[in-house]
Symmetry: C2
Subunit: 218 residues, 2 copies
């Protein structure tokens, strides 16, 4: 499959490497086609890896991951272009963490709205599924890093898109199906994005990102 | 011990009954001393149970639980009075859930502030410890309702107060000490209060409040 991974940071690279290992073609999307870190990554990862502008990466993609920093996601997706995103499943992994006032970060969108919703509103013809944004990126693509049962969430308006994302989570990334919780429509992204302030504090307290939350039920 | 439980709703009654079962004297605090539901509860729970105004409940208390609805907590605590709260440990269990715009609720304080912090600012001579606000009240006082390991958090500025609260959680309510996570100062209440939007959605998805979160570590 041809996959656009928007964002050249740690999250994008980690997702990209996992997708490459599964045999997919991965194009990292960046503001510019000569982004130094992105180009180095593409050069180091063989013929199936490339770097392109957000627009060029998205145009031919069958599937799109948003791994950009949340505060810049809407701008990055506008650069990718509504036409290039039309009808496609967009896995939105980003969080609107705003570090501009220092630590702890606040959220640039929160409470009565979420970045997932804002993206869906801005691109109504794209099938936005918020997922994987509740954990560190090494855990996203290798849940066995954290022992035992723990969960991943999906939020989105389109049932078919959520089914496809659930398959990606299970068949590609190794998540057990019974540990994937479908929270409902895209407004439920408010819940997972607002988990981040607690995640950030737990990261500080535990001193590692190798943890995840398990919803334990009676 | 003489304990003021501010709030006559389900949370206050559940906490109050647990404290009574341990032999403590419990006074539910309410806006008025003739609050119907609160009076019925006190009448039904024997000589160690009483109902009083926020002020009267707090004046003689050794320990205070804030179990009022979060959107009214500051007003309730003002009624209790800074003098009556001075030097006391206040377990703040409330969440600033605002249902005025329907479901899902928003938070009346969020993101760059929290109710826990607002209470601590308003009552600088009170030892505010945010805890237990991340779960349904039956689980607060009986963690064994949910099988296996799961967590409770404490946030507060005073180490001694957090030690006392940790003892209350373990010795009175049955929490295992290794499952109590001290997140840090009262600003970390932003994390646990902003978990509520996800909690509310999980409540809807799971159809029960008998669940809790477990932070699973590598």
């Amino acid at each position: 499959m041809r996959i656009a991974v928007l964002g050249t940071g740690t999250v994008g690279q980690t997702i990209g490497e996992k997708l490459l290992s599964l045999g997919h073609h991965v194009t990292l999307g960046s503001r510019t086609a000569d982004h130094e870190k992105g180009k180095a990554w593409a050069d180091a990862h063989g013929d199936h890896a490339a770097l392109a502008t957000f627009q060029d990466a998205t145009r031919d993609a069958d599937l799109v991951f948003n791994c950009t920093a949340g505060v810049g996601s809407l701008e990055a997706l506008q650069a990718a272009g509504a036409d290039n995103l039309r009808g496609k499943v967009l896995l939105d992994i980003s969080n609107p963490l705003d570090f501009s006032q220092g630590f702890p970060p606040s959220l640039s969108i929160a409470n009565t709205d979420s970045l997932g919703e804002a993206i869906q509103r801005a691109f109504p013809d794209t099938l936005v599924v918020k997922t994987l944004n509740t954990m560190a990126c090494p855990v996203m693509v290798d849940p066995s890093r954290v022992p035992g049962d723990h969960n991943v969430f999906v939020s989105g308006n389109d049932a078919g898109a959520k089914t496809q994302v659930t398959q990606i989570l299970t068949e590609w990334f190794g998540w057990k199906k019974n540990l994937i919780i479908d929270l409902g429509d895209i407004t439920t992204a408010r819940g997972t994005e607002q988990w981040l302030p607690l995640w950030v504090r737990l990261y500080g307290t535990l001193g590692t990102g190798d943890f995840n939350l398990h919803v334990v039920r009676a």
